[in-house]
Subunit: 341 residues, 6 copies
């Protein structure tokens, strides 16, 4: 989809029809279902008697639920939709082995027409997929504005051309499968936080010896490899190269390939940019391919880390249901957080 | 000394007399010495025959050199000066066990009068003690300006009154005995880098949920305990409480004591500030007394760390004499650094 | 409650009425309930149709069970009791989502009168809350006897006055929320194990250079901060300062405040005691604010650690139901234990 | 130089003239010098009086010695030779600050003619540069023979063409600057140890599921990036890209570039080879860019590690001068080694 | 049982009667059961009303299932079988607390006669216990062949006599309770992988300085202590000495005891073999009693580790049911694996 | 030597002749030497001209100094003494490469007669070898008294017979080559500190569940393997088995061998004692062969560790020459120590 449509999809006007989507977190036994979902997984299996059935995971913004389509429907439905697509489901909620599941009467993908025109009652992608709260077009504009400040000109050209060549993914992708900024638009939101932070800090402290252009370029592009590492942004998973190579190196490949088309007065400049990408995890044990050896690489590491952690804190606070001043235990950072004044 | 005089001392006009200070790094065997030094260490010892002598370490901005005052002079000289004072020395350079040392003919502390009036030829504290390159008054003004933006008012009052009560030390102290910002004025320079960085970042990214006032107050004061941890800023060492308690807790004490005089609408505010101080090393193994559990504490940790590391990079690059694009090995961060474009 | 009553509560005579308390670990589906519990958690929620209900966790010495009070009873019951209180419950056990829960017909707190006089059939706090097996008064006497041996006199005065000022909490508090000595009276039992151990060891080995008074004082008070870190000893949780500051520093605050009222011939003595408190976890990664730098601090660390581990071993052996020479896996120390000869 | 000449240089017939090279390890004060060396470092400096001089490090197989060329000779000599070249030196050995150094009377590079024809008495590269004890042509033949067993054909083609394109460096380079196989021919010797080991192991144990072709190709090429990481094999140092990018990624670049020219029936094959290169350090903290996720990558990691460690053991035993069954302390593996039966 | 019978049991001809064993992984609610199992655990318990019952875990190659024998049958059945025995069970499958369990109508051990003669329909040990896919006699022959190549003769004698003395266990035991080669015959299969690998590698690379005989002997025997560490190979658990002493030391005991009967020309040889056993985990934190200090011990460590890891990879791939190129998460090595070309 | 004589040697009456031993720490250039030393190392070497010479390290309690015996004297002297012996030396002190060394005119071992009768002026072993400050006989008596309290009788028998069989070494050996209690008598002093500490602690705290006899036996014998690990107590080094097997396992061997001669009512008792020995380093990374799994093993680990650390603290404080409240940096524990009140 184009970024324009994506933008509308995530931040369009209020829907002109009544919302009828029941959040998955509110499902209960016996209820009937007639609404849209995102398909997270789809597997075709067989019972012991040889009858085929479909195991599906349906998701919306509030969670996920197992679903099954039995016997006669399997063949028909199996070709009707794929993982990562929006579907319309008729069915009912049952309890199986102490968990809820949806027994599917019918399931089909939404057509492009339906997704765009509001014809399907209750369809709203932002109810089905977590998305950034910031406006994507506004973020993209800020991204390009910051790129325009990069010096020297060759580096600026690289940033702008590479960004434009991957514009749609940069706007749409999450910054991670889970952990932080794990929602549509998260990659752009996160890259901006890092790049604006570092740009401001470099200008504020000229004595620190940060090269503004290099640091800003590195910050804007530090996670660009995510668009090759991950597949299917609405239900992100690691692709083949994502598993074997990883976004640090895939991002460096993109820079290396783009740098070939540019004439560099100083050949070291694109290498220094490559270095920022492969070292931005900061320490070897955090999967940096190299420890950062330049002031700019050290700075990108810190701003990246800070942006990620603050996002984790905010996300955890929002999703937590405990009473009191502190959240429950957060497993990645292994602590409780103060909820804020 | 007052900060006004300190300011002049470090950033005064060019001296009206010819500079005659020979840097220690340029000393060589046989040369005679008639100039000022900083005394780093002083120990009284005896030879096997029972004759007393003084072992002294003299320093200037370029390094340190061993010195000895023999027999008859010992008693007379020993009471003439102390560690951490500026002295005037007559003597000569000799080689002993393959190292240079100064044989002292006479040594005495500079009087307050001499230090101030330029009467001693070649006396310039900035030649003897490493100092920040930034103007202390300008830094102090920026410090107070930033403090003035802190909300709520009670927190602002605490920051300003505590800072004013320790104004001279904040302006004069180094940020550490070694490692980073280890020069006069380093504490103020470092605190500003952290606080301006975090203030700008918090305003730039309102969605991150950083409380601007709390984060800025924490940043300005995060190392305030250094003024109790360290003794004698011109030749800083750890004092008794510095060794046993440490600047994180000593700084928290200062806040805790100051907070008692203020009426807090929300009693949690000063506790949250205390938390920033005791957790600003970020991880337990880096000597944080507690892991940071608030967004503001996490942010102070990252900006503190970034300011320190970039200062280490800059300092190492400046002191390194290797040729080529990369410095020699830096032992704290365990890597070589790129020297810069 | 006073320590006298607490002592009786935990170690009173055998109850004069038949015990009717059914341990939670013996509950099963369909059984009716009419007995006392400790309330661990209480939350008010609403069903999808807007009807309020109470989610409660009831506990006794053998475990915990979920409970629900429905619709009409919610408003009435909600104000009848709080977390950490003893309550009397009528209800029945049901199976919900493959787990047992109690459907509450009525619930109310026990009055002070009921708790003391044995009027409520089957009420015995020691059945509801894990408590130390040692007599609290006897432990308190041993605690004060040991404190009386501390030299110099000023240090002894500090230990005794601070202990008396916190007598009730020292007697009642657990030593931790979980992990070790996590039962009423555990703080006192643990402090005694550490202090008696170190006192005996110091006297036995004069050549080791342990200062008996300092080591004993440090051992007696090393966990004193727990009484500020934790709230509600019968269902202990971390309070606001417990979360943000921690018991090492809170305990040091208590010493620092108490030390102000005493005239110290040697000002270093109270600082050395503070150092023991903030360093008694022994290593930075175990949350010591400083590594121990005195012989006494090193010794307190080792006896504290040993007392805690042996308590964990004993507790795990007692709670384990495996056959054979070895227990099942213990998760904190990550091993199985030999059950003993 | 071509590999043929390199082969001769390292393994030629016994020299037809008397060897007059005095090993640096046998130098002593006062001795005169007229022989060949390898230049490790060369720096031009000035005395305090402004006179220029050259600081040089001369090396042979037994060690290194500082050398100085004074005043009038500096300008003339400075352009006569470069780092990493063989030179002929006239001079004398002196003691300076308790260390030996060579005072240079004349210094000049050996001409190609001299190096080849044996005209310079005492010139033998194998005396000046540590080299593999194995014959390079024999190793190269084994390397190609093993490459010829790789299946599928496209993978074999990649290995052979990439190896041939870098034949001279593969034959000449050391496997590392220090640590293991740090001598001329070491890269080839090490790559063979790893590849022959893994090939034999894979064929011996078909049940282990190792893909012979992929594992062998990965083993042969696992360190190919060394030829881009390092500069000047006779006195190896890290180059610009070596410092910033590292041999794991530079080797993967070589494979990625070579793979573009080949039509792959299964596109995953070259990616799996890339994965072996970037993961062959085995663990993130050992600077692997990714943990090995294939059986072949795991196997290459283990054989690489084993070959390196056994080489370190052998090298340490050979260089050690202790008596008895055990060597002195080895600092990388942090132990003593048994010298062997 | 003798190894001959074990061999037949695991690798006999196809059974002459129809297989009626329903794999546990295919069980479902309501089905009746009349077949053989392995007993993993057996515990006798009582209901609250005092009625005894048996809690049993039944296993076959595909998994395990809980079983209960009620009231009247308990006493009778309890003495009919033990943990680790093969039993014949009549009963039915029920659902209890959302899990399947078998209600036992009758249970009895298989007699030796039944196990050998095929009289019990559907009895096939290889269906009940995971076993190596390799033929045990063939492996044993290879083991002895390799032992026969060991030099010097005294070392060969030790290997052969110790192996023959433990022949049945070596052939039958698994290499571990879980983790790797955790099936009957696994110890022999694993020891062969390590020993053949190291023998081939040592012969292939004479320059590496590996002593072939010592390395091969160490590899063949490195896990010999498992036969004392573990009890009951078909349902392996750690015995008393296994828990307290461990297989590294128990294996060394076996060598130490066997070495006493041999006259050693060089007394160091058996000590070097002992060293291989106690150091073969390679690093202290992996439970090596000593780091490997000989080339042979280093090599055994690496081949042991490689054999174990490749077995884990293969086992995980085989048991994994995910689609796509990569398996699901493997918890010991903490990664996903590529499934293979 | 017998322990009686050793006792006298270390703690005899004041010498009846004037002490003429000049401590090595007081040596200076040009002084003549005629006194006794301990020989730490002896190596025979050759000059470039083929002349043999002896490199010797002479030691006394205050340090060590290099010594050389030249040309003609070499052959004669080389057979006159061995490492670890006391010698009488005539010679003179010279400076060589900025370090002092002794040029030996004559060197010969002291005869047994000389060592005992005080005929050699200035000979006093306690000046040459660091020794415990405690009386060895008194310590041995305490050791046996504690052993006599061990229950059950079989365990007591094992402790007493094994101790008596190794009496002389237990009395004479140091507890380590360096680190802690590294002086003659250190093993006994350390074992007593651990055993008395644990015995008292176990009796003081019956509720902790420590088996007094097992814990005391384990403590008394925990380092017994040192007498096999180390060679030559006056200049201790690791022997062949010390290097390859280590004192934990060698000590367990001694127990295992001794336990064979005893009839054990409970066979687990000697195994539990073995477990204490092999686990007393507490954590795998500290070279424990197994983590402690019994209360007694955990206790021995803590008292061992505490005794060692306090000894390191005391030793460092005594050897340190800094002024002020704190010592200089201690490298094993990586901190400064407070010197004590």
């Amino acid at each position: 989809m184009t970024s324009e449509r994506f933008s509308e999809r995530m931040h369009g006007d209020p829907l002109p029809y009544p919302l009828l989507h029941v959040p998955i977190s509110d499902f209960r036994d016996g209820q009937s279902v007639s609404q849209c979902f995102l398909v997270k997984h789809k597997t075709q299996r067989s019972t012991r008697t040889g009858d085929p059935y479909l195991e599906i995971t349906l998701a919306d913004r509030t969670g996920a639920v197992a679903a099954r389509a039995w016997a006669e429907a399997t063949h028909r439905f199996a070709s009707e939709f794929s993982e990562g697509e929006f579907v319309f489901v008729h069915g009912r909620v049952e309890t199986y082995r102490a968990r809820l599941q949806v027994i599917v009467d019918s399931i089909r993908r939404l057509s492009a027409h339906e997704k765009e025109s509001g014809q399907v009652t209750g369809f709203d992608p932002s109810l089905l997929v977590p998305t950034s709260e910031r406006d994507p077009e506004e973020m993209w504009t800020e991204f390009l504005s910051l790129a325009a400040t990069v010096e020297p000109a060759e580096l600026r050209e690289l940033v702008i051309s590479l960004s434009n060549a991957n514009k749609e993914q940069i706007i749409e992708y999450p910054a991670a499968v889970s952990k932080h900024h794990a929602y549509l638009g998260g990659l752009l939101e996160h890259s901006l936080e890092v790049a604006q932070g570092i740009s401001g800090f470099a200008r504020q402290n000229p004595a620190l010896g940060l090269h503004h252009g290099l640091a800003t370029a590195g910050a804007l592009l530090h996670d660009i490899g995510k668009v090759r590492e991950l597949e299917n942004p609405v239900a992100a998973t690691y692709g083949f190269e994502g598993q074997l190579i990883g976004h640090l190196l895939l991002g460096r490949d993109m820079i290396r390939d783009a740098a070939r088309d540019i004439t560099w007065p100083d050949e070291r400049v694109p290498k220094l940019l490559e270095h920022i990408l492969i070292s931005h995890h900061g320490e070897l044990e955090y999967a940096a391919a190299m420890v950062p050896k330049t002031a700019e690489a050290i700075a990108v590491y810190h701003f990246d880390n800070l942006s990620a952690k603050l996002n984790m804190v905010r996300t955890h606070i929002e999703s937590d249901v405990e009473d009191g001043d502190f959240t429950d235990w957060e497993r990645t950072l292994e602590r409780r957080f103060f909820r804020g004044l």
